[in-house]
């Protein structure tokens, strides 16, 4: 799958695994945290994405653990996955910078971190 067709959910899943391997529910929680609760991954969506990303070599199973009688399979970001995420992040940052600059030129005040003090422009 090329960069432009990766969805926001996939972007967040890759981002959730940058710092450490996580199991399924760990990924769900981290994605919710990264998106300020806006993205709540459903299990069917999560495992569909994990199958695809594992097949593409962007993620790999890390280890299996049994906790409280339940199987937890951890996934980690591969080097290829990190490179793909870096490419996505750069592309999105470039788009955001252009959008921010144009909005400022138009005189639109930007809330939050993109406001007068901060910004990506």
């Amino acid at each position: 799958m090329n960069t432009s067709t990766r969805t926001e959910q996939v972007f967040l899943i890759l981002t959730a695994l940058v710092d450490q391997p996580r199991h399924g529910y760990g990924i769900v929680q981290e994605v919710a945290r990264l998106s300020n609760g806006q993205t709540q991954l459903k299990v069917g969506t999560l495992y569909g994405a994990l199958d695809r990303l594992t097949g593409e070599g962007l993620l790999a199973p890390d280890r299996d653990e049994i906790e409280g009688g339940r199987l937890r399979r951890y996934y980690r970001l591969t080097e290829q996955g990190a490179a793909a995420l870096a490419e996505d992040a750069e592309r999105l940052a470039a788009h955001a910078a252009v959008a921010t600059r144009r909005l400022r030129d138009r005189g639109v005040s930007l809330p939050g971190k993109l406001g007068p003090a901060g910004g990506a422009a």
Partner: protein, 361 residues
Amino acid sequence: MNENGGAGMDDEDPADIGAGADVLEARYRRILTLLPAAYREHRGEEMISTLLDGAPRGRRWPSIAELASLAALAIRLRVGAPGGTRRAVAVGEILRRTALTGLLSLGLWTGWNGVDNLVVLWLERRYARHLPGLTLESWLATSTVPPLVYLGAFVALLVGWRRLGRLLSVAQAGYIGFAVTRHDSFLVLSDRMALFALSLLIAVAAGSAFHREAPRMPTPRRWLVSAAGLAGIILTVSGVYSALAFPPSPPDAQLAEEIAGVVGGPLVPALAALFGLSRARRSPIWPAALLTLGAPGLLIVPRAVIIYAQGKYENVFVGDLFSRSLWPGMPVYMLATEVTLAAALGWSLYRSRRRATAVPA
């Protein structure tokens, strides 16, 4: 409170909570039976962990959203999503070809009618006003919107605008469903059923097989060029035919009727059968896709058999193939095409199995 924020549940009896979790787990396991067995064996236990970890404390029933998400995953896995079996990959390929070929066929068919209508309108503007209840705008809309929807869905699915393509594919089924249930429809019931079943099949095939994890169609440019070439030929022939046939004059109308008899009769089924046969040597995918696409057409066969048995075979069966009816001889063509494609599929499957089990010398 658990890590999922089961606020307000702290006063519950732990035994009740434990029993509730067991009930919920059993229900999740039942839902997971929707998934293919091999996938469930590989993923089932970790999915159960993730589902139970994410369920608020005290919940006894799976949420509708989780149920829908798992059902959608089950469908995707059966039509070739990553993680599915080889058979599922093949089913996905078959359904994608079924959907695209169906959309293109109906696009060209409605396009033929559309061009016919537009030529008639251009030659004799008052024509539209002569039909009761039909305004110029509705005449133009019924001439142009259906081919644009079908061909738009075809192009959208090919180039990767899947959401739009699926939406248009479902919309066409809704439109056909509405059109064939109208009391003033001029088609007989079996023809209406066949048309609706075909549009429904296309909607289901497009909706299920062009999911977000489906692979892109190989060689989309070849599909687009072939479709553009076919559309150019068919719509030009339609325009010429309409110009010859209107206003009606006996010699020209006779030629036009004969062209229409071939195009609306044996031409498309014969092309489908020949194409399926030519591809059967390489793989069973195309014969299977065309066989699937033609299956709703068999709904018009029983009526033809009944009428033939009653001796009223005018406009229906052999001996009257080119009469001036809507789909003259079509039950025969459909049956012959489906039998040919089924034979091609059987032969192709036999060949591929033999190749797979052949011991190298």
